[in-house]
Symmetry: C2
Subunit: 193 residues, 2 copies
């Protein structure tokens, strides 16, 4: 089967046992939101114990507090009532393995997928590439714990984020499944009213 056929077959099986989930309302039942990485190894519903309807889940490359993540978080509390947020990065994150210069160079060279060697990513495909990558902030990570602190602090100081919302900072360990607290992030994300 193709990927598309596999996805639709899995969906058929899900629909067959959908049950009472059809009655769920729009606002998250448990009133919180998680911002985490798109990484395939992370399943926030499983690692944090979420059932359908419980919590908002926002995901991007790195789990970063991008402008778009903040747009989503503001909608989450202002219109849908979440009262508590988590920023959850993880070990072995791809965002630690390159810099803006690296990905800009790779994209300028070729749009094909690069390979990862001991020296980092390198291109195996042929051009054409694009200079468009130079105009994007890739939000790469050079210090794992500090990136969590920075993202929590950015959310905390955003003028649209109420001081009453606590923002917790964690790193998910992909070798154990464990959520490990980053105390400096928790401190930076403490509610102040």
């Amino acid at each position: 089967m193709s990927v598309l056929e596999e996805v639709l077959a899995a969906n058929d099986a899900y629909v067959a046992h959908f049950g009472a989930k059809s009655e769920l309302a729009l606002p998250p039942v448990r009133g919180f939101a998680i911002l985490t990485c798109m990484d395939a190894r992370l399943d926030p519903a499983k690692y944090a114990g979420l059932s359908e309807g419980d919590a908002h889940v926002i995901r991007n490359a790195g789990g970063r507090a991008s402008d778009d993540a903040i747009r989503s978080l503001v909608i989450s509390y202002k219109l849908l009532g979440t009262r508590e947020w988590f920023v959850i990065h993880h070990t072995d994150c791809g965002m630690e393995f390159f810099t803006d210069d690296v990905i800009r160079g790779l994209l300028a060279n070729s749009l094909e997928t690069a390979a990862l060697g001991a020296e980092g990513f390198y291109d195996v495909g042929e051009g054409p590439g694009s200079a468009e990558g130079a105009y994007i902030d890739w939000l790469t990570i050079s210090d794992r714990a500090q990136a969590v602190v920075d993202d929590v602090a950015r959310i905390r100081r955003h003028p649209l984020v109420p001081a009453r919302i606590p923002v917790h900072g964690y790193v998910y360990d992909v070798r154990t499944g464990r959520l490990v607290e980053i105390p400096a992030a928790t401190e930076a994300g403490r509610a102040t009213s």
Copy 2:
């Protein structure tokens, strides 16, 4: 228990049975990515049949093809090898129930959570508010199917997205769990090389 205690207790249970997931590598095993909404009722791992390690999952308010979603998708194929993407919006999406003017007005009035009545969202909290909302494009949705077409088309024409990557467009029905294809989006997202 507090939300934080509940999340950490659920995580303890997950860790206790983590097993062979500790061996998963960084690139998605099944080579695809899903862009979908943060809505609490959506669990893409369940509705699309994903195990940990299978696929990238990107989520924001609306499942929109924001600049940040495109940043994530480009990293997904260029560095981590995904070859096929899905854009999956859903029925009863909160993004259909307001406009930029509405949320900007609500935020200017108060940072407290608004209520939803028959006439739309209205503020029940007191100020202070913030004018910062006027500087954000909230990416609201006025036509459900067209928004999927627009997002697929935006991804398709982005200069960093190779023509070889098919982009499928679907709407998830929150009453049934069913993924419903948007044919015009599939057409717009067809691979051309």
